[in-house]
């Protein structure tokens, strides 16, 4: 932005060239965040369950009681309560299990003599799904403080997923709770139960759950929310707001629609119009000029000269653009109705026969044809003619197949002119020398 403002061409070009590399670098650096963002988008369909996180059937008393008993005995433990996001890609090692949660089982898993006591237990709904699992370690030393590896694992998983992790320290005999990239010590069983209940186990039936979505939207981070709204307003003012209206002219095609099948518009009808639109510049930015057209409904049109005034209703305009002017304002054209008619066929002859021949007759077969003709011209059109027959080239009685020459107001139904046969009968002149 600065480079462009001060016309620093070389710097601007350099950054432009580096844009693609930067995009790739961004994907590499933030791959975990992006992966999580996409997986959250995929989970949007589960929004109504947010807060309950599928754990409503879990009785947390066992977990709380076990955690504090282990803390009292200074036995380390890691208990992961899965949220909506899958954990598989964050977990290494351990063994799969499908067991009901019980104090005895948890005591046994975290017993220092047990093989997997250093790992984590993963709880999904009311079942233990995994034990002795290895979790990713956190690099956030500020949040971690002087806590050890077990706490680092608890915090690490909470940073990359929506899981809650109960961690029991074997050195200090304290219980901690890691969630959403934060870890804190929980002093009493009641407090832990309260935290679990508030964040994870509140059932959809409770009044707290019904308001929780709005509560979540409105509570906390007021400064950031205000800053976001202010920045969005400022961006709208700088980018979108315009007080001045703009007029732009476009040449658009005229579309004559729903013309009855037996009707015909004379070729002279206008095919284009110049329309001038008025509105804010941003409205023009959203306009695709190729989609503009004037569309006239001719379903009720009558035969004869027509005059239609082009109005805004004939042109489909985007919102916030108004029709300022149309040229031509009035479209003038003639509509004809096709009717069937039987007319005579007449051979058109030109030139003169050779001097030694005398014309006896010219006959046409068939003598009449059925044609389609403009209704207005029906009374004036009694016959149609063949293409000219050159008599000077006739030397004897001849059969010819000339084409019919149809005027503009005549056409044949099949689209192909019927064949006609012309017989030119000649006889030698009687006074010609032998």
């Amino acid at each position: 932005m600065i480079a462009r403002t001060f016309d620093m061409y070389m710097t601007a070009a350099l950054f432009q060239a580096a844009l693609a590399i930067t995009a790739i670098a961004l994907i590499v650096v933030f791959q975990e965040d992006l992966r999580r963002a996409f997986s959250r988008i995929a989970l949007l369909g589960k929004l109504p369950r947010l807060g309950s996180a599928g754990q409503t059937s879990l009785d947390c008393d066992v977990l709380v009681e076990t955690a504090f008993e282990l803390a009292q005995k200074k036995v380390g433990a890691l208990i992961v309560i899965r949220g909506d996001e899958p954990l598989e890609r964050h977990i290494r090692g351990g063994s799969l299990i499908d067991a009901r949660i019980s104090k005895a089982l948890l005591d046994s898993v975290f017993d220092p003599h047990s093989m997997g006591h250093d790992g984590a237990v993963i709880i999904e709904r009311d079942r233990i799904r995994h034990f002795a699992a290895h979790l990713p370690l956190s690099k956030n030393l500020k949040e971690l403080g002087t806590r050890g590896t077990r706490h680092s694992a608890a915090l690490g998983l909470s940073e990359v997923s929506d899981a809650m992790v109960i961690v029991v320290s074997e050195e200090r005999g304290q219980v901690g709770l890691a969630w959403n990239g934060k870890i804190e010590t929980v002093a009493t069983a009641t407090e832990l139960k309260g935290r679990l209940g508030m964040e994870r186990f509140t059932g959809p039936q409770g009044p707290q759950q019904r308001i929780s979505l709005w509560h979540r939207l409105l509570r906390g981070n007021t400064g950031l929310k205000l800053a976001s709204v202010t920045l969005a307003c400022l961006a709208w003012f700088l980018i979108s707001f315009e007080a001045d209206t703009v007029q732009k002219t476009f040449v658009v095609p005229i579309e004559y629609r729903k013309l009855p099948e037996n009707m015909f518009i004379e070729d002279a009808a206008p095919t284009e119009a110049r329309i001038t639109l008025s509105g804010f510049e941003r409205a023009f930015n959203l306009l695709v000029p190729g989609t503009l057209k004037a569309s006239l409904d001719l379903s009720n049109v009558e035969e004869g000269q027509q005059q239609i005034v082009v109005e805004e209703s004939h042109i489909k305009l985007p919102q916030n653009l108004t029709l300022f002017r149309v040229l031509p304002r009035t479209l003038s054209f003639r509509v004809h109705r096709w009717v069937r008619s039987n007319v005579d066929v007449e051979a058109r002859a030109e030139g003169r026969l050779p001097e030694n021949l005398k014309l006896e007759s010219i006959s046409v077969s068939p003598s009449t044809v059925q044609i389609l003709i403009w209704e207005s011209q029906k009374a004036n059109t009694k016959r149609v003619y063949t293409e000219p027959i050159d008599l000077s080239r006739i030397t004897k009685t001849t059969d010819l197949k000339p084409k019919l020459v149809l005027p503009q107001h005549v056409r044949v139904e099949s689209g192909r002119a019927p064949e006609v046969q012309v017989k030119v009968s000649v006889v030698p002149m009687s006074d010609s020398p032998p």
Partner: protein, 51 residues
Amino acid sequence: MSMLEDLHRAFRLADAFDIVFVAMFLYALFMWFKATASRQVLVGIGILALT
């Protein structure tokens, strides 16, 4: 005064939605920025973008 009138004239319901969506996007971005461990990288990219 005329500026306010212009604002009133130009502001549509779609603009309100526009602002709400952009604000939500910015808020999500800020929250991500706050949470991500790589925020220093974002600061660097921001400086580059401004340049």
